[in-house]
Chain length 210, copies 2
DNA sequence: TAGATTGTTAATCGATTAACAATC
DNA sequence: TAGATTGTTAATCGATTAACAATC
């Protein structure tokens, strides 16, 4: 069934999860689609459709049971499934992502950090040693890694990507501001923060806010 | 005219900009909508429509003049406009964002970093001293700041937001995984990286890739 | 029960894609 | 000129929203 969900719906699910966690933390038992919609500034019909799309049901007149809904979201999004990954590029952003504890609850587990700067190799970041790129192959193969997080400069991104793919990587979370050329059986999600900032200020500008 | 552009189009513009910069770096003079489309895996009609939407025109049979297109994008996206901002939360992510040089070309200028942890106050990050939140008011007022970057824990996010808004902040780039409650004349763009990771692995999973 | 809220079908809206004329 | 590529109208597609019946 999961392969029939729409991407826009999928992207809203983590927000629902955060709202559910907050409401539970505030001691509530049920939540209505209207109150979720109000927080996210979307239509309440859409909230109900999204929830229906992941196979969860509420109670007319009552709303959605927060505990059960939370568990359903965790199962649907597979938070309990360990997503072993490697991170390439021990720069400021790479270090920040490696250290961020908050990712663990979503299943993200960074098993190793790589860099080709001799000054960085050997450093300890979040209990993990920064490894030379020469260790890529054995790490990927031994741990059967399919996911890579790319936080390296643009000019190295494509060649590094080619290497990762040749070693079996199938999904790349790309923080470099460049479009990577990959075969159709590899998925890339771009996370260009400079682009996000540009969009941010321009939307604010369109709304005549800044 | 800018207020008539669609958000999906606006979000694609930074990608066009990156592609144009790369092509220029490779010594090319012109680029076709079809080649841009191929790189981004979108429809070439859409690329032409997007470019038309920002008021730029190509030459039939030739394509788009890279230098002129680059300048047009920079002007449209107002990269030359300094976007003075403050950053709240000198954690790993806040420090990484403060240090990242790449933002400058998009106009982002972090004029001050704030934290309420006495151990962090006084630290130097990217030539800027970490200030106590008590200095917020004078910094915002003196520099006429409208933009804030929020990299603090969720449990402090709403109260900090309320304070920022009371001091005149109008646009918030929110890295905390929480929906902020703000008045209608304030714009929030959420950048929850945990949510992004969840979406990333679930799309990869839908595509039967991992 | 009455009323509030869910669940779902139908209508709308807008983004994407197809078709093709315009043009250098 | 011929052909390639842009520019633009029309068609399609799918997401969002409206309306309302179902239900606890």
């Amino acid at each position: 069934m999961k392969n029939e969900i729409s991407i826009p719906t999928l992207k809203r699910l983590p927000s629902y999860y955060n709202i559910v966690c907050n409401a539970l933390g505030a001691g509530e038992k049920y939540i209505s689609s209207a109150s979720i919609a109000r927080v996210l500034d979307v239509d309440d019909t859409q909230v109900r459709k999204d929830i229906a799309a992941i196979g969860y049901a509420g109670k007319p007149k009552v709303g959605f049971d927060l505990i059960k809904f939370k568990v359903h979201l965790e199962e649907y999004l597979e938070f309990d499934k360990k997503r072993k990954s490697i991170l390439i590029g021990a720069g400021n952003l790479g270090i920040a992502l490696s250290r961020y504890q908050g990712f663990a609850k979503y299943g993200l587990s960074v098993v190793a950090i790589f860099d080709n700067d001799p000054l960085k190799i050997g450093l300890k970041i979040a209990d993990k040693e920064v490894l030379s790129l020469e260790k890529l192959k054995e790490t990927i193969v031994e741990n059967n890694i399919k996911i890579a997080i790319l936080t390296i400069p643009s000019n190295k991104a494509q060649e590094t990507t080619d290497m990762l793919i040749s070693l079996g990587i199938k999904a790349i979370w790309n923080f470099s501001p460049i479009a990577l050329d990959v075969p159709s059986d590899v998925f890339v999600q771009n996370q260009d923060l400079g682009a996000s900032f540009t969009t941010f200020v321009n939307i604010a500008s369109i709304k005549n806010i800044i």
